[in-house]
Symmetry: D2
């Protein structure tokens, strides 16, 4: 199972299911893996920011990778961002050994100039190995590093092993257009663009040149359908579907509390057994839970999947 | 014209209209002032972040204040945030002399601890004068200063002249609930909460305890209607209206490019003559303009105001 | 009085003297101007970060510029950094009209990529006018914008009116070497480099290629002597002088409290009448004052100028 | 070997010695351990920021802890700061199992309010265990989190297992005075304060209330002597010694390049075999190396230890 510069569709950002006592719930890991596949996802990304990776011991991370990779029939990408290259290399190597399709790397915290960002990824690629396919994560809202379009292009040019951009800059539509224009003019080689940011702009990103989404919204089946509608040129229908979900997408995209919303939905959908997070985690208040449930009921008027 | 701790409704964050050559378009200033009133706004806030205040010479700022204050029949609040207290005092004093209802103050860039934030506002209040009614702007996404709920409470307690919170923390729903709970328990005195952030959560903020909105969305008339629907307890209708606009609200709330969207809509609505911005400004690409127009057309299916 | 790409020596970062009640002390402004000249300074920079510029009303700023420019027989540079280009232009224009030699511009707060930094200065130069000579201030410790060496080079290349770099990156020695190497290889045109950061590395900066210092240390006469010693190739003597002052230089270079140290020394030297700062200002505690006086006494064993 | 709230003297921030090929040089680890003891250090802190901890694989970290703890006859503290509590707990537990005296914890990157900082340390203490003695690292220049004096006090009050503050705020002298004043007034319990920041203010910190230093300056023997001189009330002699070293201390304290200076000195002193750093590392240019050697020669005129 591999991914490539022409990968399309939806890569689910996988949550990590815990029992109420904080232990990893491997049965729910299995169900979640199956669920993503059944939802039409073309890949799964695990141990990303929303996968509570920093709350896992090294052994636990490896256990989860093993479990998902062995079960999944679609490519699995592993988030290996770490404060140092040693931990990054170690996790990347064992991920690949276990059968992962590739890794995802975010910029280091300290990069403050274009050159520092470019050098950081050069160091990261040297650390994980030039043979390891990887996804460049561009997520300034959380990671604090703004990567200029020209710098994204430079990194992609420097590193043939970079096959995909996880695009979640904000605002970000013009960045997609610019990168695709650079490709058309021959300045830049081919690479896949999957969009994150909770799907907040997935009603326009495909037309701008994105190949799909890489995000963890509680309705990956809807994301798959949406990407398909765009592929079929059904613009209005795609927007109708998107607009029906947008109030919930928007609610789930809130920094910090978003993961709680996501786990709440996955639990309500019967995919995971508990919405528990490891500490530090932000749980939903009773009011917030009622708000999410109200939004679900409203979405359900247009999309039966939300009738829970 | 004054505002108070019980102010409600919609305070429009006013754009500043320019001619294509960059000169202030005072006729459009007048039309915009009238438009906000006709849209049911209960107040106008000028020279805020979206009002391109830093691009105005001191004399120009004063000319705009004078123009709006003299024309408006609703209270006008003036954004006076500045890198130093001298400029803040100077602008606040002349605003009040010209008849403004009060001023809005954002945290200074340097505050890195609760105490520094609290002290900053103490200095600001001393500078503008303890008799000047003011609005506390809580907008970490742009201003980089996170103000804890307890710090908002402390500032409000310290300064009787702080009558209103412009709430645009994100995520921010729980903050409203907590502040209102502190009031109920008697820990905190009364104050008005108007919500910003482009209106992105205005479908839940009133139920959390907000008194309305202070934002510049291109359809202030819709914001007014929305706040009224909530006041009348028409929850589902309010959500229907909100959801119809959300795709556009979301598009307009993009950092940087949002003002271009806003001016484009105001121009299409016939309120301002030109969508010109002074430098540095981010204009809409042709693609972005087409996207906004497509969203307008979609909104128009539910709300005739968007049929332009 | 002009400055140029070959300017050398010491440009004093001027403090702004206030009376104890906060009013500007123009007599002390005069004495300070004379003092800098008598100290061998080759220029004066006013209204910089350490000149409490944001605490001055616009009229006050202009009054100070007028006073210093009319009195000084050496070039005067005016700090015009501002949150918006309008205020920057306005201050720059009136500075030049009053006879200033040029202006100093720091990067804007929002620049997060090389391109944004480059564009910011393009906008600033357009605002103040391409005919106005200016100094590029590179001070990431306070201004939060790291300007890569290549970006400094680009800005200098883009703007012939940029005559000087106020170098206060930290660590910064290699940056000077790299810039001078770019000049030698013909990649970069001539420009002056004066170093700031309180003089903390002035024992090596001249050998790296700096033309002198632009800083506000309480002993500008010592800075002048130091730069002269280096010009004469008296390396060991220069270090002896520098080392004698370093404990005090280090103490004065503390962020925030440094200005209080500086004003305390200037007052003890009889140059300014009061060490008052406008709010917000950090004053010396009794303990800190005793520490500074102890350091002065220790410096005085090697340098009579410190025997106060 | 334990440390306590009354620990005094010098805790060396240990470098991690590598062979030229990047492998850990355990013989140099041994020599360095002995060297710190022979230098009069009262403790050793390993795997701190200057110990290149993020460049070590988990197994390597444990091997170094084991090696140092088994050899040292003074307490060893282990830096366990990590992006997540799981890794922190894991490293802390195995450190304690191997015989470490305690751990050092820095604030998490995300804390933006006092409450978030306080909660972060509550989570960290829960993770490592309330029985594990720890050092609170207060180092905003690198860690970006400013911890107000009141917040330091709160954390110390909340957690009896916090025995020591590694004080390296800047400016920081008043913070020491305030904390000690809070102790005297009975507001705060006893705790040790050792100062970092390369020793840049160690000529005043003991008089302000510090118990010594925790830093990695290449002459820990001089730091020990300095702290002893202060303990004996020999103020002038202490300053003479400090001032002789200050030019070098200042040079070594440069962010990034400082570790290269430190390793260069330790190598020249014959303690470690190679000054190699793992990537990403900033090496000394030939010019910088010559500058350091020149400074060493100048220090040697006053302190024979620097005659290398």
């Amino acid at each position: 199972m591999t991914f490539s510069t022409s990968s399309k569709g939806v890569y689910a950002i996988a949550a990590t299911p815990f029992h109420d006592d904080g232990a990893i719930d491997f049965n729910s890991v299995d169900r979640l893996t199956d669920f993503y596949e059944e939802s039409g996802c073309t890949g799964i990304t695990i141990l990303g920011i929303m996968g509570e990776a920093p709350k896992l011991e090294a052994d636990e991370s490896r256990a989860i990778i093993k479990r998902v990779v062995e079960r999944a029939k679609i490519p699995v990408i592993v988030g290996v961002s770490a404060p140092g290259f040693a931990a990054m290399r170690s996790l990347a190597r064992s991920s690949m050994d276990m059968g992962a399709a590739g890794v995802m790397i975010a910029p280091g915290q300290g990069a403050k100039t274009d050159e520092q960002t470019i050098n950081y990824f050069a160091g990261a690629v040297e650390a994980v190995g030039e043979d390891v396919p990887w996804v460049l994560q561009d997520y300034p809202l959380t990671l604090n590093t703004v990567i200029a379009t020209s710098v994204v292009a430079k990194i992609i040019t420097n590193h043939p092993s970079c096959l995909m951009l996880k695009h979640e800059d904000w605002p970000g539509l013009e960045k997609i257009s610019k990168l695709r224009a650079m490709q058309k003019s021959g300045e830049l080689r081919e690479f896949s663009i999957l969009c994150g940011n909770g799907g907040m702009f997935l009603d326009f990103e495909p037309e701008r040149g994105a190949d799909g989404a890489m995000t963890g919204y509680g309705f990956p089946d809807m994301l798959s359908e949406l990407v398909s509608l765009f592929a079929e040129g059904k613009r209005d229908e795609a927007h109708d579907l998107f607009d029906a979900h947008l109030p919930l997408i928007r609610y789930e995209q809130q920094l910090g509390v978003g993961l709680a919303v996501r786990k709440h939905i996955l639990k309500r959908r019967g995919v995971i057994a508990s919405d528990a997070q490891r500490k530090p985690g932000q749980m939903l208040t009773a009011t917030a839970k009622a708000e999410v449930d109200y939004l679900l009921a409203r979405v359900a008027r247009h999309d039966k999947r939300a009738a829970l």
